[in-house]
Symmetry: C2
Subunit: 345 residues, 2 copies
Amino acid sequence: MTHTKIRFAVTGLNHGHIYGQTSSMLAAGAEAVCFYASEDDLATKFSSAFPQISRVDTLKRILEDESIQLVLNAGIPVERAPMGIKVMQHGKDYMVDKPGLTTLEQLAELRKVQAATGQIYSVCYSERFWSRAAAKADELIQEGAIGTVIQTLSMGPHQRNFPSRPDWFFSKEKYGGILTDIGSHNFDQFLHFTGSTAAEIVSSQVANFHHPQYPELEDFGDVVVRGDRGVGYIRVDWFTPDGLGVWGDGRLFITGTDGYIELRKYIDIAGRPGGEHLFLIDQKGIHYFDCNDVPLLYAPRLIDDILNRTESAMTQAHSFLAMELAVKAENMADRLGNLQKLEQP
Amino acid sequence: MTHTKIRFAVTGLNHGHIYGQTSSMLAAGAEAVCFYASEDDLATKFSSAFPQISRVDTLKRILEDESIQLVLNAGIPVERAPMGIKVMQHGKDYMVDKPGLTTLEQLAELRKVQAATGQIYSVCYSERFWSRAAAKADELIQEGAIGTVIQTLSMGPHQRNFPSRPDWFFSKEKYGGILTDIGSHNFDQFLHFTGSTAAEIVSSQVANFHHPQYPELEDFGDVVVRGDRGVGYIRVDWFTPDGLGVWGDGRLFITGTDGYIELRKYIDIAGRPGGEHLFLIDQKGIHYFDCNDVPLLYAPRLIDDILNRTESAMTQAHSFLAMELAVKAENMADRLGNLQKLEQP
């Protein structure tokens, strides 16, 4: 990979992921030109983290600056696709926090505009792209360490922090539902690690088991998904207990014909310190890998793709398909009430 | 619990679980009267493990011995229910290895005979009853350690050892299918830990992904199940790699409204030695429990139940319902071919 400097701008500061998106691009050698936000409080916070990035007073200043090649966005989920369409129509690539869209109508429009413009619409599936353990899993699977992958089983529990969440977090129309939102990470991992390029939802369900005070919150969801190269199970929830000490005990089990891999991405409960733990069990034995030194390749690869019009960070088809599956699973999900109201079968 | 000596006999030595069934009853103070087996090789092996238990030459000697209160069985799965019917009709209780039956027709007949005779038909769900970590989970959940249980997620990978397996192991009609057989353990755990007394199968699938040389083997299966008190996901497979060192990395995740529990029943990969590991994460912190000293209560409770006609080891309804769900999941499962033949969705 050879990096010429690329120039990027930032808009949509609503989700904290924008900080990781920005710093990963800076670390990969990209140059930040400016940012736009209508919200003063979010802008002040962003400016104090990145004082070198100046705020501009209209979005137009970004869209019409022909020197800007890439726009980063972590806006309110329902607004991410419309912004991406504008960005692509202005001849720029787009890196957006997941969920990269919230409805199938948005997806259809995005596919049309993306095909017409040839711009990159890259959904930043951070639970893979920012996980060094996941990067190590890539390496091991490519070496044939577990044979052919059969199934991925991923658990994405998240910490509530509800008092600190903005209003849009509790509006289904705005965040898209639990499978669309935090579920989408897991569809990305399923497609990626099985190598599937087509898939269907076998079953999906969402619930608000325990938070009636937030009627549009879904605090639990799960999905069985079947691809052309393997199967997957996904569970997401907002039940991380405060005692865990990190935001979630994210796990990924990858079962192959000749072994399996477990990722303990953010914590090894009552085990080794820190995150980025990978366990490989093969026909010969049990192998532990501390992945803290494994490089993260998403940002540098995206820069390559912007410069060379390649798809090394992620194919466009994958970027969209993971979101399509997430929204389809959300749309067709059985909706369960609270625990007391589970239907008597 | 007060134990008067009860007297038991053994028949059906086809699955090795019969050794654990027998020794657990002996350890709980029951008296072994005799055993019957038509297979000389199995009888010789059993006699050398339990030289104090004499072999009788006909089943009749067991069925017609009025001093015998309980019969243990780990026969070929398809033959377990017919034997249990005979046993109950002779006024004796029955403790049978899982799967306790292989078809819904057997179950209907069993329910009829059990109701008419009032005998106990106890399916020995050994992945719970013989797990000290599972016994500890009972204790913690009863104390409210994780609030109300929302979901169980269990993984039951098993080691192949195919060359050493008898012919019936590869005959679907005889072993009942992967969800009926090793899946049934997990339905037991789902019902038990959620407290559900009614449930339905949301989706199920089985596959022979990688063993075309055994056309009736199912090497993978999974299920989403929904009960009146919580939901469950179950995955079973025959993909334990030889390097693991134990027969399976059996895991159970129990998610509650206020915390979660993980059981690493048989091994803590690259972690603590031995088995019986329980991890509890609650609002206060992360707690590890070595459960090797937790008592197993199934056998002593079953003795109580035999003496007092109670249901302390397990209710009869539960014993049957776990099997009913397993067989229903098996019957309705989508059947996937090998990995190369996964349908293009």
